[in-house]
Assembly symmetry: D2
Homo-oligomer: 131 residues x 4
């Protein structure tokens, strides 16, 4: 495994968003975000892009945990319930499969501590070729 804490600290966008690293392991990550006013959308909820950023960050930690630089090839997100400014959101990434240089990771985004499911995210990853 890589030094996940250092990898996370280097993620500028995640830091700027105020994301916190709660736990991690090979192929998994658990992070959180308390939604700030500047993360709202025009309809008084959390911006979908912020929910995606949180899920994508958990995905990035999980798929890079093995120490090989890995990028997102495609992602899909289903928005299942709304969240509002001030809510605490947690994202848990788990590995669905890993084969060759490809991987599939699932991320559930929930409110905490209530556990309302806000979004389900699936990310397809691709390890970069060694240079």
């Amino acid at each position: 495994m890589i030094d996940v804490t250092a990898f996370f600290a280097a993620d500028r966008a995640a830091q700027a968003a105020g994301i916190e690293l709660l736990a991690f392991g090979p192929g998994s990550a658990h992070i959180a975000l308390t939604v700030r006013p500047d993360q709202g959308n025009g309809l008084d909820g959390v911006h979908g892009g912020v929910v995606f950023l949180l899920a994508d960050t958990a995905f990035g930690l999980a798929c890079n945990s093995y120490g090989r630089p890995t990028v997102a090839r495609s992602c899909q997100i289903e928005f299942l319930a709304g969240a509002t400014i001030g809510d605490r959101l947690e994202a848990r990434a788990t590995e669905r499969m890993r084969s060759g240089r490809n991987g599939i990771y699932d991320v559930a985004v929930m409110t905490a501590p209530d556990g309302l499911l806000i979004a389900e995210f699936r990310g397809n990853s691709r390890e970069l070729r060694p240079t």
Copy 2:
């Protein structure tokens, strides 16, 4: 049509990200972002969540342009090429179909002025029921 300029100005996350509104019409939007250092990922590129936020913002403007509050139900993004800090990205949202309360919108994210395709995004929208 709604007042798209006011709708965009109310989008806190888009404003905080530094997104600019270039043009809009019924079912379409054209926006831009010059990537800041705090929008980078841990691998020296632009964070995928920032690319998504840009695409999703264009989608939100396009699907709300008719004046009925509309939310994202699901989104899919394919990452086709990387971008780096300082790059100028443009996102163009177009309407693929709209039927009943459902809509499908495509967003292409490109570098400007080179026109390298960075990502293709598809968003499924759902009009909220009148309350």
Copy 3:
């Protein structure tokens, strides 16, 4: 639970394709197909539509297992490895989440008995309203 065996027997397209029901439970299903020559594509492999049909059938059994008529709203499939005519394929559907009238189901399609992962499928389901 519904009578899954009768539900499966009524699925004309699944029967015509030669799909076999191996096991089922609440929110899950396990089915198989031995690929026939008339299920090939133009490149000497199994037609992607046949792999999808197998996965979608497992999804349909799993999401209808509770006895409320439920349909597919959207599906996504990743093709991870090829299969050829004569191969035996198995699909296992599991429930990722179920909330209100919405559900998300994952289906893995593998060769048997080797267990090579051919495709990963995700289906979003929607219960029909009672009439």
Copy 4:
């Protein structure tokens, strides 16, 4: 361009399903299917797998039209309206983008001659490496 007519004639599953080739061009295809009783699902409609097979076949014709063997990497389908046995369905594939060995194709599936939109499909293609 390849000989699309011959490519289509070699597609065993498309032939077995009764799909008809109506028109084609570089990056595009237009095909049709009159739904048979053995293409129904267990809920009196057309099986989603059959709608996918039709869309996927149009996608395969469009992405292979340039003469380089190309396969589906991933596909997504949104089911927008139901269809029933005896309906005539048409699928039109168009190219959204093509870059390096990757392509994205959109396929609309409609009833004919009414033009009711049944499904929207997006396929991501990948050219095989020359061997």
